[in-house]
Symmetry: C2
């Protein structure tokens, strides 16, 4: 895409922001949680590459400084809205009360630090962090923020002990639906603490772990589509983030095919899975698989109806994302408009 | 494909055969294993559809009668060779000695029942069942059968406690390589007994479980390609069976892309993963994802180089496989020849 920095023609659907230190969260925690809280580096699977070009001159780590992020990401790329994803990693913890308290503190922090004084123009849009260990508390937390002008979605780590179509999660989906907020599923906490890992046991390298997020997302997606969730909650919507993109046609071909043979097993599902997908699910683009031949990618994007289902994301500052210009191969102008702007505008009602 | 029953122009790379009852295996077991052995129906995830049209008139279940299988599958479809996959499910068990003994008994049974008196013309080709809980014993079992004229591969369930690239499995790969036998990975025992399930916890339905075998296969494949297995064992080859097909381009685009960024993590891997794949890995076709538009499938088959990597399979008698004629959309004659015959002939040196 040809970038025009002066025209704000982009919505970035996956931008990561972090508290500058543990105290920034602790001020929102009561005892006994305050005492217990600390920001731990993941004990497992860390990206071995550690680029420093996104660290703010203020001294914190990448993604901690709203002023610098505005300068480096928003202004340099003409971004109209950035959907912010804090990374609280709350779902790895065994204690649902602790996890709920931390999720709640992250929401207060996000509202006060990113969605308030630093957001006069409304560029930043926030995600309501929830702990899905306690779906009832999560639903309450969603209700607590639902009236806020800048929270536009609910955020759940993919790390879980059960696939997301299963019934224990329904209070969350009900709260999302009644407040018109989609649920974003983002990689995180997979295989850590109390969570499953969608893998044949623990792999040896970060490369495998990171690639494996695509299996994690597919596993949740299959569950959501085959448990009748979208029949039960017709206003519930989902966005799959940072899990890869081009696996979608193969998965949906398979799922629609199996549905034809095995639909007697899932009577609550009334239509082929890909119909629910089209109405209820969107995907963010980073990391986008890039074959040697651009034409192959364009064909697969066409097969998955990326024109309607895909939303641009940079995954700033975590990814190897290089530039907006190089994010996609050359596409038609109308396709670019949809992926870089219109799909997200419509989905998030911006 | 247009079928000519009188010309044997097909190799079927995934045909399931079963002992007619537990005694058929017990005769090959010593105590204390004989006492312990029984053929259990899977306690988890059973295909709810139970077609009876493949049950032999002799009274056993489908896949138990060599004479009837010849009639219904081999002769009706002009099959030159059928690669037989017994389903011992040995990898779900906690005891490596028991599992090894059962694997061994299945091999004796297969040799005596299917590869001997019923195989004068050599149509049936067998798989050496191994228990990967004891890789040293598995290697011995491979050596035991390696001289047999009709065993053409080694068979491992995908169900495992660790991804297949990891080092504990290397005695198996060494034995495969020195005997020129590929390793077939087939769905089975996933999430059962002691094994992992490549899913966010246990899904509710067989449909999800069955679809999820594609994630199981991708997980093993990523591990094999990123652990340097094919550098260490240049003669080792793998065939991925019954795990779906069309996910391959997306996976390899992603893996090659991540390799470019993260290769410093895996110094034993010298080339991009897709190069090893092309040289060392093949896939069987059933269940082949079928999109509404045949052209989409043909394009993806082209992207994955199905002309060289894909081998026809029926999954008889387990699958919903309908007919050889309907197995693929219309392809070029040379592509048909490769997928239905030549790829398997070359891979198995038939």
């Amino acid at each position: 895409m040809k970038l025009n920095k002066n025209k704000r023609t982009l919505i970035d659907c996956d931008v990561h922001v972090y508290p500058v230190n543990a105290d920034a969260i602790k001020v929102y925690l009561d005892q006994p949680w305050k005492h217990r809280f600390g920001i731990r580096k993941n004990m497992l699977y860390k990206n071995p590459l550690k680029p420093t070009d996104k660290n703010p001159p203020s001294g914190g780590e990448a993604g901690t400084d709203p002023v610098f992020l505005r300068e480096q990401l928003i202004n340099q790329n003409g971004i109209a809205h950035a959907i912010l994803f804090p990374r609280a990693n709350v779902t790895a913890n065994h204690d649902p009360d602790y996890s709920t308290a931390v999720a709640s503190a992250y929401n207060n922090w996000l509202a006060d630090t990113w969605l308030n004084k630093n957001n006069d123009d409304g560029v930043f849009k926030g995600s309501i962090t929830i702990s899905h260990q306690d779906p009832y508390a999560a639903a309450k937390e969603i209700d607590r923020w639902a009236g806020h002008p800048h929270f536009v979605q609910v955020l759940a780590d993919s790390g879980a002990r059960a696939p997301f179509g299963q019934r224990q999660y329904y209070p969350i989906y009900e709260a999302c639906a009644r407040n018109g907020l989609p649920l974003a599923i983002h990689p995180g906490s997979d295989g850590m603490g109390i969570n499953q890992l969608v893998s044949q046991g623990y792999p040896s390298h970060y490369l495998e772990y990171y690639t494996g997020f695509s299996f994690a997302m597919q596993s949740h997606l299959v569950s959501l589509l085959t448990e009748g969730v979208f029949e039960r909650f017709p206003d519930f919507r989902v966005v799959i983030t940072e899990g890869g993109v081009t696996w979608l046609p193969a998965l949906m071909w398979r799922l629609d095919m199996e549905y034809k043979g095995l639909r007697s097993e899932i009577p609550s599902v009334k239509r082929i899975p890909s119909e629910y997908l089209r109405e209820h699910v969107r995907f963010t683009s980073q990391p986008l698989e890039r074959p040697r031949n651009d034409q192959d990618l364009l064909e697969v994007l066409d097969m998955m109806d990326a024109e309607h289902l895909l939303m641009f994301s940079s995954d700033y500052p975590d990814s190897n994302f290089e530039s907006v210009e190089a994010a996609f191969p050359k596409m038609s102008e109308s396709m670019e408009k949809r992926i870089f702007f219109e799909n997200a505008r419509d989905f998030y009602k911006l």
